[in-house]
């Protein structure tokens, strides 16, 4: 290491600058020079609590006050001091799970494809989108920009470059062009008609893929106006991916537009290929199997919009969040890679490729659809589109008695607007 390089890392220094209490103990990892074992415990330094010494390398885990950290840095036996940070299931874990890096190695990164994120907006200043946001629109009257963080997070999963992290949290299609329609307000809520307007805007922009990480209360049968316009976008030749919802694990919990017939409805799994507890289950109220496939949607680290705190903040540029919202832009990114590999791939072909090559996770179809997407197999397997819509696995119990369409329940005051869950 160069003599001029500071012993305290930049990230730790930033944290030290925000600490107001001199007695606050901060978790650190200290790297010592190899031949000074005695110093590994930090003994003799006021404000240091030794936690653990590692034997494979000369590192020690400690708790120390800001002043003690500075004293440690003055010690010639200390080589470097790092902040001990929480770890998460990373975007860099979810992308290998679905096979994206294998496609990157083949030169497929989404170049030439256009993805619309219809959501809470996007932070145009985030380094991970530099030079690739082609157009944005605000349909909420709040103004452009992302005051919530959800849209930025989704956009990053689909197409972030990972520039602000050296590529660690690179999105699935890091060379795709991004279009962002703001249809949800900073509180993460909106109206069907606003989302419909966002879908039409995306169609008018000539995008290839529309990603919708939003939904209304379930259950639905796909005949509502929002589902209908999503199907209309598909009829225009655009692949539409939609979140299934987060009202699982009960059945009949897929609302609009997840219940739309011709979209690709996305449920969530974790990095262990288990269906997320919260992932909404089918069937639709007209008996169709949904979701269609699942993708990772638990503890996903992706770009953070400036000034927002959605999810669990990792650092200035990234935050971790969960939901079928996070699974859906994974699908959008995969579709972009497939489109680059097979220009002109129709939405029906795209859907068939994803479903026919999905990995069976052993869950019921109403939870996993056909399984977890395998992007590499989807790109390299020729599949014909289905002639008939997929049918369910057998006799289906009817929806719960008194099951009104979700939007109507709200109109009648039977279900107040849902608050964000903890």
């Amino acid at each position: 290491m160069a003599d001029s390089e500071p012993k305290i890392t930049r990230g730790l220094m930033r944290s030290l600058n925000t600490v107001r209490n001199d007695e606050q103990l901060m978790p650190i990892i200290v790297r010592f020079s190899p031949d000074h074992r005695v110093m590994r415990s930090g003994e003799g330094i006021v404000g240091v609590q030794h936690v653990h010494s590692f034997h494979l390398r000369p590192f020690a885990h400690m708790m120390a006050t800001p002043r003690a950290i500075e004293r440690l840095a003055d010690n010639p036996d200390v080589v470097r001091i790092y902040q001990d940070l929480p770890v998460y299931a990373l975007l860099d874990a979810s992308t290998p799970k679905i096979g994206a890096p294998r496609l990157w190695d083949e030169g497929l990164m989404g170049e030439g494809t256009r993805i619309a994120i219809v959501d809470t907006g996007i932070d145009p200043e985030h380094p991970d989108f530099e030079g690739r946001i082609a157009a944005t629109t605000d349909l909420t009257s709040e103004g452009l920009g992302d005051g919530n963080g959800h849209g930025t997070h989704c956009a990053g999963i689909a197409a972030g470059s990972g520039k602000a992290c050296g590529g660690t949290y690179r999105g699935v299609a890091p060379a795709a062009t991004i279009y962002a329609a703001k249809v949800l307000r900073a509180n993460g809520q909106g109206m069907m008609s606003t989302v419909m307007a966002g879908v039409e805007w995306a169609v008018d922009q000539g995008v290839h893929i529309i990603s919708l990480s939003l939904g209304g209360p379930g259950p639905g049968d796909g005949s509502d106006a929002l589902s209908e316009i999503c199907d209309a976008a598909v009829a225009e030749g655009i692949t539409v991916v939609v979140a299934a919802g987060n009202d699982g694990p009960n059945g009949y919990t897929i609302g609009s537009p997840g219940c739309a017939r011709n979209v690709i409805t996305i449920g969530a799994c974790n990095d262990d290929d288990r269906i997320a507890h919260f992932s909404s289950r089918g069937p639709t109220t007209d008996g169709r199997v949904k979701p269609d496939v699942v993708l990772p949607g638990v503890d996903i680290v992706a770009p953070r919009a400036g000034g927002t705190s959605m999810g669990a903040v990792v650092d200035e540029w990234y935050t971790s969040a969960s939901g079928t919202s996070m699974a859906t832009p994974h699908a959008a990114g995969v579709c972009a890679l497939l489109l680059q590999a097979h220009p002109g791939l129709s939405p029906a072909h795209m859907k068939a490729r994803l479903m026919e090559t999905a990995v069976d996770l052993g869950a019921v179809p109403y939870a996993q659809g056909r399984g977890r997407v395998d992007a590499w197999s989807a790109a390299h397997t020729d599949v014909e589109p289905p002639l008939e819509p997929p049918t369910g696995p057998g006799p289906i119990p009817g929806p719960p008695q008194g099951c009104l369409p979700g939007a109507l329940r709200v109109l009648l005051g039977l279900n107040p607007p849902r608050q964000d869950e903890d």
Binding site: S193, S213, L214, G215, N246, M310, G323, T324, L408, L411
Partner: protein, 86 residues
Amino acid sequence: MPDIDAALSKALREHPNDLVDLIIHVSGDLSQRVQALEKRNVEVRRRFRLTGAIGIRCTGKTALSLARSSWITKIEADGPVRALGR
């Protein structure tokens, strides 16, 4: 008569003076239908060329009178949606 959920119809009857956001599906030329609505003092908020639908705001009473129009094929509530991540 347009397709309108019985429960929505009931709600409109029970709250005739309350403003409600609806999405209506129309036949024929979309621009002409928008003009017809505006002549009836209906607030037109959105129009959707892909599906021939119009987002409106009006009272329950007005909505029920619109339901008698032959060129309106469906009336539904403009419901809430939310982001699905946290």
